[in-house]
Every structure is written in structure tokens, then in C-alpha cells.
């Protein structure tokens, strides 16, 4: 067995046997699914009905307020306004809507009051405003002698159909789905880097504090040790992720069928579904499926693997170098910022700029820069990226990867034998020349 496989095997076994690793492997999906189940359970719970007192002096509007699951409207125009105001607390009204009797609609529209000791939600107030405005508009039409039914019939609704130049019909909301798929892959890479990069760092620090490091590197090259560590840890990580996916999937299926949470009841309705009728939806669904099948799945998958390997190795060798440079985990904080920053940047650029403009300058540039490209490029790929951009991005990534691994191994081989001092950036630079 070669030395490298020996190291990989030991690192893998050491990680997998670790108690906290085992606990996290089996507990995380439970927690995750539990959390989702809890949240969806909460959202299905009915909140208390809130009673709104309405004092409508003109008696024109009060019929327009229809009771809903959440709000009940009580017509209390008969009761004196002052008494009503005083009784908000004692009668436990959520609030009091006061509409004065003013004939001029312009004046009226600014004189309506909502009196409440709680701060009402924006959407509730907007609903109230809509109802009153609609009533006022209708009455304004009538005053002007216009036929309201004719106006209603004259109102037009437009829904633009999206078509590609090839004549194929496509659907709306696809950008979101495309970003979603890319983002899922990108996010996976980021999580993987943060969790297992940290693990690599801790394992380097452990060898330093155990003082076994000098025994080991009298037999193997520091570079071999570092690579063995990174590969062994990532294999353990892949295993953990796979277990999470399986347990999570099974648990989600079991829990959702047990609690009867229907996936449809969640409010993730696409704009298409609201626009079209049921029959329409069947056609559209077919379009969605076609679109998804048309996504460059092979490219996406291969790129995911390439960017995953490139990105993970790039970052985890930096983690390893940091681990070698410090004596304990608390000292590592000052060096971790340059790692976290580009990762966060990648995710934000991905969500904000790729979604609005997948082939814009910002998205293109960040999908080239090696530290952000594993995340940003994966989000762009579903939109179709020219092959030369992919090539440049991958070449840059792997070029940087080799440079950083060389750089990290330099710091690593000096750092692992340094004890008792907290290194500065300047010192790290000096180590490169040793």
C-alpha cells in the first residue's frame, strides 16, 4: 500500500470513528427534518380570530368588509365613537376602523382612521385601503355617470407567452428554477468547504498539539501528509453527505406522510399556476418538464464534479496551511476571514446578480475568479454558458489550485514544527522563503 493511501485510510477511519462525527451524521437529518416538520406544523395552525370594530358613519362601506379566517368585522356604527374608543381594551377588539361621513371623496380618503394599541400588519392595512378605495372608485364612476359594468368588461388582462427564436414555447418562472438548481449545487460546495475544510484544519492542529507531527514527517513528506489529510477528510465528508441525503429523504417521506403535510399546501405556487386554469396548467407542466430536460444536465453534473474538486481542494489546502501556522483553534480566527469572505461573496453574487442578469459583467467576472467561480459558475451553467468561458474558468481554478497547494504546503512544512507563537502575516510570508 502506498504511503498516501495509508494516510488517506487513517484519516478517513479516524474521522468516521469519531464520536461527534457519528452523532452528527445521524442526528443532523433528524434535527433538520424535525425543524421542517415543526415549521410546517406551525404554519398550518390557525391563528386566533381578531375582531375589528367598524364605525362607518355613512354606512356605505361596512358591508364590503367580509369576514375571513383571521379577521371578523363588527358593525358598531350604532355605538358612540368615544365609547367605542374607550372599549377597545375592555372588549378586546384588535382595532377600530373609523370612517367619517364626508361627501367629498378626496377629503374622505385622507380622513379615515384605524385605532389600535397593536401595530397592524402592512398587508392588513393595505387590504383595508383596497376595499375602501374600490368602493370609492365605483361611487366616483357612478357620480360621473359612467357605467361600472361596462368599465369592468373593458378591463383587459395580459399574459405574455415566452417563446425562443427556434419557435419552442417556454414558461415563466424558469429563471428562478434554473438559479435554484445551480444554487443548490453551489450551496452544497460552500457547505462542504466550510464544514470539512474546518475539519482538515482541526486535524492539522491536533497533530501539532499531540506532538506526533515530527514522528510522522520523519517518514513522509509534509506534502503527502497534507494531501492525505484533505482527501481522507473529504471522503469522510462525502460519506456523511450521502448518509444525510438517504436518512433525510426517508425521514422526510415518513414524517410528511405521518403528519399529513401535503406538499401542495405549502404556499410555493408559481406565478404560472395562479395565472392559468387547471387544464392550462397540465400543458404548462409539460413545458416545465421539457425545459428541465433541456437543461444542460450532463454539463451541469460534470462541472459540479470539476468545480467541487477544484474548489474544495483549493480552500482546504488554505485551511491546512492555517492549521499548520497556529497552535490552537482560537488563534486561527484572524486567518479565517479571507476564506469566508469570498465564499459569502460567491453566494451573494450568485443570488443577486446571476438571477437578474446571468450573462452580465458581474456574474461573468465572478464566475472566472477562482475563489468564487465554483459557486457562481455553477449557478450560471443552467442558463447556458459559452464553452470558452467554462474553459477559462476551469483553467484559472486549477492554475490557482496548484499554486495555492504549493504555497500552502510551504507554510505547512514550516508551520507544523513551529510552536508557541502566534504568527503574523509577515511571518507567514517569510516562511515561504525558508
Amino acid at each position: 500500500m502506498s504511503i498516501l493511501t495509508l494516510i488517506i485510510k487513517r484519516e478517513f477511519i479516524a474521522k468516521v470513528r469519531n464520536k461527534s462525527f457519528i452523532v452528527m451524521t445521524f442526528l443532523s437529518p433528524l434535527l433538520f427534518v424535525g425543524l421542517i416538520a415543526f415549521v410546517s406544523y406551525l404554519s398550518t395552525m390557525k391563528s386566533d380570530v381578531k375582531e375589528i370594530a367598524v364605525h362607518d358613519e355613512s354606512n356605505l362601506f361596512v358591508q364590503n368588509f367580509k369576514n375571513s379566517d383571521e379577521y371578523h368585522y363588527l358593525n358598531l356604527t350604532a355605538i358612540d365613537l368615544k365609547t367605542l374608543k374607550d372599549s377597545i381594551v375592555s372588549e378586546r377588539y384588535e382595532g377600530l376602523l373609523y370612517i367619517p361621513k364626508i361627501d367629498d371623496s378626496k377629503t374622505l380618503s385622507t380622513k379615515i382612521q384605524y385605532i389600535s394599541n397593536d401595530s397592524p400588519s402592512m398587508s392588513f392595512i393595505e387590504d383595508l385601503e383596497d376595499i375602501i378605495a374600490q368602493k370609492l372608485t365605483t361611487s366616483n364612476f357612478q357620480k360621473a355617470g359612467l357605467d361600472t359594468t361596462a368599465i369592468k368588461n373593458a378591463e383587459a388582462k395580459v399574459s405574455i407567452n415566452l417563446t425562443k427564436s427556434s419557435g419552442e414555447e417556454t414558461v415563466k418562472g424558469l429563471n428562478e428554477i434554473k438559479v435554484g438548481i445551480g444554487a443548490a449545487f453551489g450551496y452544497l460546495i460552500m457547505m462542504f468547504i466550510i464544514i470539512y475544510g474546518n475539519m482538515v484544519m482541526r486535524s492539522v492542529i491536533e497533530e501539532k498539539t499531540n506532538r506526533i507531527i515530527e514522528i510522522i514527517i520523519s517518514s513522509v513528506k509534509p506534502f503527502q501528509l497534507m494531501m492525505g489529510k484533505i482527501i481522507g477528510t473529504s471522503l469522510a465528508g462525502v460519506l456523511q453527505f450521502a448518509i444525510w441525503a438517504i436518512i433525510g429523504g426517508v425521514l422526510f417521506f415518513v414524517v410528511s406522510s405521518l403528519l399529513g403535510i401535503e406538499m401542495n399546501s405549502t404556499p410555493t405556487v408559481s406565478p404560472e399556476m395562479m395565472a392559468g386554469t387547471k387544464a392550462d396548467f397540465a400543458v404548462k407542466a409539460q413545458l416545465y418538464i421539457n425545459e428541465l430536460l433541456n437543461l444542460p444536465i450532463a454539463t451541469l453534473f460534470i462541472s459540479f464534479i470539476i468545480y467541487f474538486i477544484g474548489g474544495y481542494f483549493l480552500y482546504s489546502s488554505i485551511y491546512a496551511a492555517i492549521g499548520a501556522a497556529v497552535d490552537n483553534e482560537t488563534d486561527s480566527q484572524q486567518f479565517l476571514l479571507p476564506i469566508i469572505l469570498p465564499l459569502m461573496l460567491g453566494v451573494y453574487v450568485g443570488f443577486f446578480s446571476v438571477l437578474s442578469e446571468p450573462h452580465g459583467t458581474v456574474a461573468t467576472v465572478f464566475s472566472m475568479i477562482p475563489l468564487t467561480s465554483p459557486i457562481v459558475m455553477l449557478m450560471r451553467i443552467p442558463f447556458g454558458v459559452p464553452w470558452w468561458q467554462l474553459l477559462i474558468s476551469v483553467l484559472l481554478l486549477f492554475g490557482t489550485f496548484f499554486f495555492v497547494v504549493w504555497f500552502a504546503s510551504k507554510i505547512y512544512r514550516v508551520g507544523i514544527l513551529m510552536y508557541g507563537k502566534k504568527p503574523t502575516w509577515k511571518e507567514l510570508y517569510r516562511w515561504l522563503k525558508y
Binding site: 495509508l6 506526533i212 515530527e214 514522528i215 520523519s218 517518514s219 513528506k221 522563503k433
Partner: protein
């Protein structure tokens, strides 16, 4: 080749600091070589270069006549001063792992381990984790791991630190036994009495330079002061002192003796020991007559404080 290790004019620099300045040492085959020097002299730097942990900036190293190369890690056993083991790994697995890293096959490693575990009567530790063992026990394991692959050259940096006297003695006997079987040993320590006891060659490094090297007896001969420690029973002390001071420099001496004798340290100068003995026998009964041999400790302090 009669030398297991030849270090020729090795230079090592850390930035502006020179850790080794053209240091050359020669370790004869089958010897126990004491590598001495105060803290920070460059011993660890030199040892790390021999172990190929760091590379020298200049100079050449020959192991058993061949230029030092990566395959030689299998011929060297190294017990560093800063040593430890994986805390949460089981003893047996850990030993197998470290032995395989030195190029042993798994079955060969197992065979060797059985031999050593039986020898040290520690078979019951096999499935224990290192964190369950005491420091001394862990040190024993480290020693076993160091010698497991039967290296030609054993490099031990402060091997006795952390051992109680019984175990230190056990390890010492093992080192001597291995040496008798042909293993050459480089031995770096601050415990001069063990150098005195075990080493036949020494080398002293101070402030990045090698100052002394050679057979222990040759070095001592070079540092001899030509003085004798004398114990004598006499009734006429003044007469004796008069005779002695005519020819020699005389001082007080301190050594253990069962007699109520006069203890003197006498510098011979140009005279011979027989002349001194002649005077002494005329004046009283000689109970003690020994040449004062410089201890390694004396040589060390004398050289370093120069």
C-alpha cells in the same frame, strides 16, 4: 565504509539567522555518538536535516556511504524531543500505521510488534487508546515505534525524559543491546551522566558551529589537566606540604573516602606521576591516587563558557 553517517559542511539558514554554519560530523558505524550542545545551538536543526524533515541550504550528507535520499527514511529511526501520539487512536493500530509508514509490510510490522510488546510485557495495551495510558507508558510505545523497523541508525533526542528511573534503565539497556547488535546511535541529551556512561564518541555544537568532535577518551585526553587526586595519612602535614609545594601546585580536593586522610589535588606540571608518588610515600601512607579525568560536564561547561 566504516562511517554510518557523514555530514559535510552543512549550512542551514532561517531568514537572516544561521542555524548551522558549515557543520561537519562523522558518526562511525556501530558507535553511540553523543551530540551535545546548549539549548538553541542547532542540534535539532541538524537532526531534522539528517531526518530529511528540512533540507539544508548547503553541504552534503552521506548515509552509509550513499548520498542521503528519501528511501533512507527506512534506515533511520527517529525519536524526537517533542513527541506524542494520536490520543484517540488505539495503541496497536497506531503502531501498525507508523510502522507501515516506515515501509514495513503489515504482517512484518505485526511480527515485530508482537516481539517488542512481549519483551516489554505490554501486550494488554494493544486495544487501549493512548489517552488511557500514562505519559511514561506512551513513551515506551514511542520507543517501540522508533526501533520497530530495525533501523541502521537510531537518532534519539532526549530519550529518557519522562521516564522513571526503572523504565529509563530499561530503555538504556535496550539501546545498548541494539547497539551491540550493530545499530549505530546518535544520542542528543543534556544529561551528561548518560553520555559519560553510554557514548563512545561525542560532538559538541555551540552557536551554530561544531567545536569538539572525537572519541570520548581522545577528547578527554585533550582536556586533561594533568592533575591527580591524592589521599594520604600523615603525621607531619607541614613537612609534606613543604615538599609538595616545592615542585607542584597543590590545592584542596574533595572525594569520598573511608579514611580520615588529607585530601589534595596536585597539578603535576612538568613532573611525572612517579615523582609525586615518591614524595608521598616518603611522608605517609597513600590511600588514594587517581588522575583527575575531566568529566563531559566539565568539558561542556568549559567549552561553552569560553
Amino acid at each position: 565504509m566504516s562511517n554510518i553517517l557523514e555530514v559535510k559542511k552543512v549550512v542551514k539558514q532561517y531568514g537572516d539567522y544561521t542555524a548551522l554554519n558549515e557543520v561537519s560530523i562523522t558518526v562511525p558505524k556501530g558507535s553511540i555518538y553523543g551530540l551535545l550542545g546548549p539549548n538553541g545551538a542547532g542540534k535539532t536543526s541538524l537532526i531534522r536535516i539528517i531526518n530529511q524533515i528540512t533540507l539544508p541550504d548547503g553541504g552534503e550528507i552521506l548515509l552509509d556511504g550513499e548520498k542521503l535520499s528519501p528511501k533512507h527514511v527506512q534506515s533511520i529511526g527517529y525519536l524526537p524531543e517533542e513527541r506524542g501520539l494520536y490520543k484517540s487512536m488505539k495503541v496497536g493500530e497506531q503502531c501498525l500505521y507508523l510502522a507501515q509508514m516506515k515501509g514495513l509490510s503489515k504482517s512484518e510490522a505485526k511480527k515485530q510488534l508482537d516481539y517488542w510488546f512481549e519483551k516489554f510485557e505490554i501486550q494488554s495495551w494493544w486495544n487501549k487508546k493512548i489517552e488511557e495510558l500514562s505519559k511514561g507508558m506512551a513513551q515506551k510505545i514511542q520507543f517501540v515505534v522508533t526501533v520497530l523497523h530495525r533501523p541502521k541508525l537510531l537518532i534519539l533526542d532526549e530519550p529518557f525524559s519522562g521516564f522513571d528511573p526503572v523504565n529509563a534503565n530499561l530503555i538504556k539497556d535496550e539501546i545498548i543491546e541494539l547497539n551491540r547488535q550493530g545499530t549505530s546511535v546518535i544520542f542528543s541529551t543534556h544529561r551528561m551522566e548518560s553520555v559519560e556512561e553510554m557514548c563512545d564518541y561525542i560532538g559538541l555544537i555551540h552557536k551554530s558551529n561544531k567545536l569538539i568532535e572525537g572519541k570520548l577518551n581522545d577528547v578527554k585526553r585533550e582536556y586533561r589537566t594533568n592533575s591527580f587526586q591524592v589521599g594520604i595519612l600523615t603525621s607531619n602535614v607541614e613537612g609534606l606540604m613543604y615538599d609538595l609545594t616545592q615542585k607542584f601546585t597543590v590545592g584542596q580536593a574533595d572525594f569520598k573516602s573511608l579514611n580520615e586522610d588529607l585530601k589534595l589535588e596536585i597539578q603535576l606540571g612538568n613532573a611525572t606521576s612517579n615523582e609525586l608518588l615518591h614524595i608521598l610515600t616518603q611522608r605517609g601512607q597513600v590511600t588514594h591516587f587517581v588522575e583527575k579525568i575531566p568529566s563531559v560536564n566539565d568539558i561542556f561547561i568549559q567549552t561553552v563558557s569560553k
